[in-house]
């Protein structure tokens, strides 16, 4: 516990000495009388001043929450000797605020007494927080000394990004051999009807289409589409972001990536993650609830780290990008390295869709004093980049804050349908 002298002690001692000296110098006893109370307070308070013996335990209510959710924080204070004045403040990380319970709060802890305090902390932004530390500032009875200490263990708190509403997701063009929810293009055992074909030796009797057989006079069987799972790799571009105040393209990108991962995993697909930026991070595709937490935890660590080093797709481990996987890139399309990597992936035959987290709302506009010509050139350049991707057969859909992610996904799906028809 650190101890400091309060301004009050300095003031009172100074005034008392000044008043007594002035009384002696001017021969006015009234000045000594005026100074006397200021001598009385230190004379009473200093012999009684003792360092408070406070013990504290803090408990954080949860280890995980979602953006905008609240977490309870409890603190128990116990004092051996009475502490007449203790200010208790929860040390809040950036982005968190106390929504219930005054912070700081002023309490008196009696001798041998335990005081319980409770706060509800709201985390307004996704990320990894540490919570549980509490700062205590005590004063002696007359407020001559200030004792400060920090108590409580800092506990990690993971705040997951809030999920966007998504009814359907983008389906990959190719499926994998394992069973899943996606209707495959190939024909095998399954539920979905595909076509009729003549009976061949080895076909099961239960697959005979008796109506077609009766009409044609020879055996016909039903062909079915099997249900398979798919591999999806979410490609998060973290080279640069556009930010204005508390909001930025990275926040939106992480939210979209977490939503997509959750939805694909709910469909029993294998989902992988590539965080491509100043720091490279990846997760090989897997399925299940554990993978969901792995992905979200990896997304929480995603940050923009300025780097001038050129990186291409070769730095990503090969097993992270399985063949026939759908790569859903979430990018503000601001950095050439990410664009080149995506184009390279496409040329290697990967099925790619790009959700462009629009940096336009976060960029300076003409109203902010930006040159309108510069703004127009920048927008035209962005349009050219989109066109270049379209010419590679990669759908690029702009997604802005406030818009439904579902509409962007729907737009990508319609682009893919049109591209498919054109190929035929």
């Amino acid at each position: 516990m650190t101890r400091t002298t309060s301004p009050k002690l300095t003031t009172y001692a100074g005034l008392a000495v000044f008043g007594l000296l002035a009384a002696v110098a001017l021969g006015r006893p009234e000045l000594a009388v005026l100074a006397a109370p200021f001598a009385l307070v230190p004379a009473l308070g200093l012999p009684l001043a003792r360092e408070p013996s406070l013990r504290a335990w803090s408990t954080v209510g949860a280890e995980r929450t979602v953006e905008g959710g609240t977490v309870g924080l409890e603190l128990e204070l116990r004092a051996e000797a009475a502490v007449p004045h203790a200010e208790v403040a929860v040390v809040l990380p950036e982005g968190a605020r106390a929504v219930e319970g005054p912070n700081p709060v002023l309490v008196r802890v009696g001798a041998g007494q335990t005081v319980s305090l409770e706060w509800q902390i709201e985390c307004g932004h996704w990320g990894a927080y540490s919570l549980g530390e509490v700062a205590i500032r005590c004063r002696d009875a007359l407020g001559l000394f200030v004792y400060e200490q920090k108590v409580g263990d800092r506990r990690p708190l993971k705040v997951y990004p809030s999920a966007e509403r998504l009814r359907s997701v983008l389906r990959p063009l190719e499926t994998q051999p394992s069973a899943g929810n996606q209707v495959a293009r190939e024909r095998a055992d399954g539920i979905e009807f595909a076509d009729l074909r003549p009976f061949v030796h080895g076909d099961r009797l239960r697959r005979v289409n008796w109506r077609a057989t009766a009409r044609s006079g020879e055996l016909w069987v039903n062909d079915m589409h099997p249900e398979r799972n798919t591999d999806v790799v979410i490609f998060l571009d973290t080279f640069v972001e556009a930010r204005r105040g508390d909001a930025g393209t990275l926040d939106l990108a992480v939210r979209a990536a977490a939503t997509l991962a959750e939805r694909y995993l709910a469909h029993r697909d294998r989902v992988g993650l590539v965080v491509f930026g100043g720091i490279l991070n990846w997760l090989t595709p897997a399925t299940g609830i554990v993978q969901r937490y792995r992905i979200v935890d990896a997304l929480l660590d995603a940050e923009i780290l300025l780097s001038y080093a050129w990186k291409d797709i070769d730095v990503v481990p090969r097993r992270t990008l399985p063949p026939q996987a759908l790569v859903v890139a979430v990018s503000p399309l601001l950095d050439e390295r990410a664009l080149a990597a995506l184009a390279d992936l496409r040329r290697r035959g990967f099925d790619i869709a790009v959700i462009e987290v629009s940096p336009v709302p976060f960029a300076p506009h003409t109203a902010d004093g930006a040159d309108p010509l510069v703004e127009r050139l920048w927008l035209l350049r962005r349009a050219a980049r989109r066109t270049a991707f379209h010419s590679l057969g990669v759908p690029v859909v702009e997604w802005r804050e406030g818009e439904a992610l579902q509409s962007a996904i729907g737009e990508v799906a319609s682009f893919r349908r049109a591209a498919h028809l054109a190929r035929r």
Partner: protein
């Protein structure tokens, strides 16, 4: 703030020919204190107390009744205590009403104690003990001893 204004008004009323000086000192002290409390600056408190003390001293300079000095002293202490109380609890809210009640009781006790000590000092000052260099020296030594005692006690409390 109200206490500071009250002490200032009392000093102006009690001051004779030095009324203007007392009024100027009181007004400036109150204004400085108000600004400091508004901005949360504790540095203004000693200067405000010094100015109010000077205004009170001005009221005694023109043949004022020294018997009123314990009341002025208690008023000055109340101004100081309330100002620091205001600054200390500027951001925090009390969890229960007991904290404020106890502090108010302590403040009342200090004010009452300072009036009692002031009264004793006034009656002691009325005793004619003569004068001379020895007594002046004793007074200076007492002031220096007070400063040394405060310093020693504050170090020991560490």
């Amino acid at each position: 703030m109200l206490f500071a204004a009250a002490v200032g008004v009392a000093a102006v009323v009690a001051a004779g020919e030095l009324r203007l000086l007392a009024a100027g000192l009181s007004a400036s002290a109150t204004a400085v204190l108000a600004a400091g409390l508004w901005r949360g600056r504790s540095i203004v408190v000693p200067w405000a107390l010094l100015a109010l003390g000077a205004a009170a001293a001005a009221s005694f300079a023109d043949g004022g009744d020294p018997a009123r000095s314990p009341l002025f002293a208690a008023g000055l202490l109340a101004v100081g205590e309330l100002s620091y109380w205001s600054l200390e609890t500027r951001l925090s809210r009390p969890a229960s009403g007991g904290v404020a009640a106890r502090r108010a009781a302590l403040l009342s006790g200090l004010v009452a104690g300072s009036i009692a000590i002031g009264a004793v000092l006034v009656s002691v000052a009325r005793i004619d003990a003569g004068g001379g260099l020895a007594l002046e020296g004793a007074g200076v030594a007492a002031a220096v001893a007070l400063a040394a005692a405060v310093l020693a006690l504050s170090r020991r409390a560490a």
